[in-house]
């Protein structure tokens, strides 16, 4: 309903004009994305990782051999294009390229699952400790300190021995041990966030602690969490490949990059291609994730350059 003076119509019109003509407002996320894209190393890394992911997940449909198929006529043979063994075959006559695609898939899936577990635990734990503060915080962070002091890899090995060879439990186990740093970061952020006016406003509006943490604190943690999660991925890939390397990880005929590398270990002299190809993929993945993580950090926190 228009006012008597017609002021509302005019104002609405003016607002519409402003929307069209004025400079577009940019959100923090848009700013960050823009800065990330301008970072060459990060951009190249994103492209490379997209390529690797595509090849690992779609590639198997296009190669002539499947990862568990034995080619009896070509055992331990170097790359042979005529037969379709583009990266050669392994000790059991299986196609290395197909196995690498499967292995990369496995490593990436482990990394994703374990990272989500660690992020979930880290955020929950850190935000609760930071928000409630005082004695709760002291006890919870003391526990984190104790966990820090323990030799992490020993506990991973013990956990793997307990869970046996179930890959799902293995992922969850790795994730469940990798959350400590995340919890610390989240707690630090929460401590400063909870003093801000909007939290006070929420509390004045009658919101309970759970609601405040879920609706007001956690969404504001996105920046550091995304950055740290990206940096957790390579760590988990390393842990997984290390466990597979010791023979504790993924089981045959399934494979992962670490398993491939460890199987090549006995034969580096005569069949170096078994080591070099998976190693190249592993190193590329790790470098790319690290560069993206660093790039994200710079993008979210431009003053830290």
């Amino acid at each position: 309903m228009a006012g008597i003076t017609g002021k509302d119509i005019k104002l609405t019109h003016y607002a519409e004009e402003l929307e069209k003509a004025g400079p577009e407002g940019r959100s923090l996320t848009q700013d960050a994305v823009r800065r990330l894209v301008r970072n060459k190393a990060a951009l190249v890394s994103i492209i490379l990782i997209t390529l690797i992911v595509l090849i690992a997940f779609i590639g198997p449909y296009f190669v002539p051999w499947s990862f568990d198929k034995v080619d009896w006529s070509a055992i331990r043979k170097p790359p042979d294009f005529a037969k379709g063994h583009y990266f050669g075959t392994d000790v059991n006559g299986r196609d290395v390229l197909a196995r690498m695609m499967q292995g990369t898939q496995m490593s990436l899936i482990v990394a994703l699952v374990a990272t989500s577990v660690s992020v979930t635990i880290g955020i929950t734990y850190g935000s609760i400790a930071g928000y409630f503060g005082g004695r709760v915080d002291a006890v919870m962070m003391r526990f984190v300190d104790i966990m820090y002091a323990m030799p992490y890899i020993l506990f991973v090995i013990i956990l793997v021995v307990i869970f046996g060879r179930s890959p799902v439990l293995l992922f969850v186990g790795i994730g469940a041990l990798e959350w400590l740093t995340m919890a610390r970061i989240v707690r630090g952020q929460t401590l400063s966030l909870k003093e801000r006016e909007f939290i006070e406003a929420a509390r004045a509006g009658g919101a309970g602690s759970g609601t405040i943490i879920r609706r007001h604190i956690v969404p504001n943690l996105t920046g550091p969490v995304v950055v740290y999660a990206t940096l957790t991925i390579p760590e988990i890939i390393i842990t997984e490949s290390f466990l597979s390397y010791l023979g504790l990880g993924v089981q045959e005929p399934q494979t992962s990059l670490g398993t491939l590398i460890s199987q090549s270990a006995g034969a580096i002299e005569s069949q170096p291609w078994l080591l070099l190809f998976p190693a190249a993929v592993l190193i590329t993945l790790l470098l790319c994730f690290t560069y993206i993580g660093d790039g994200l950090r710079d993008a979210f926190d431009p003053k830290d350059r």
């Binding site: 506990f155 270990a265 190193i283």
Partner: protein
Amino acid sequence: MLPVAFIAITACFFVIRLAPGGPFDGERTLPPAIKANMLAAYDMDQPLWIQYFLYVGKLLRGDLGPSMVNQTFNVNEMLAIGFPFTATLGLTAFVLATSIGLVAGAISAINQNRWPDYVLVLFVMVGVVVPNFLTAHLLQLLFGVYLRWLPAAGYVPGSVMHLVLPVTVLGLAHAARVSRLMRASMIEVLGSNYVRTARAKGLGERLVLVRHALRPALMPVVSYLGPGLSYLLTGSLVVEEVFGLPGIGKFFISAALNRDYGLVLGTVILYVLIILILNLIVDLIYAVLDPKVRYS
């Protein structure tokens, strides 16, 4: 510090017992009577909590108990064989890698955004990111197989050549992390006001670096050395396994696989103690270096 060690030991004691299978479930199934006798010999027929108190009791007297798989040696003797080796390996790598990392980081910071910096930063990135078992194999392939400069694996007592590759692999990641920290903190210090003052009053570049920049730049690095050393020690698990060296890391892996409870616990206790003691030493060094830290 002691409570932390105690909690670690307790956690480890119960966690390892949760694992399915026991030390006597080998490929040959033992007749029930013999197995019962074996369990009794190791106090394993008692309820778990009594076993725990028996173990802690022995532990307080410095006895780590018997190994459940190796009948000839008990855990104390096995650790006494393996530990000096791991310690030598780890400390050599630690000292070398820390020094190299510090120098590399400082050079990198002084030449910020010029070619020595770019080269070093790239090296450091690779060192931080590439897992040590992979570096181990690549170096074995390069120096052991193609160039034949160094033995690829194995250990001959007294032979230094056999230790070159293991120490390099073990120290590489550590050197890279130290260098990254040193570079960042040195750049920050070189941009600070007191360094500008020192330059303005006409001090030579070398004096500025040695007298004013070095000590504050070392602080973050020193606080990393504790965790760094514990990474390095657990890294020796891999290195000993890959190069076939007789240290406690190798014992630990085979013990965990064979459910040799005694040896697993013994190794973990040793690791935890070393790491805690080293952290304490690092804290003390930190207090000496930083006038702001006071322990009252």
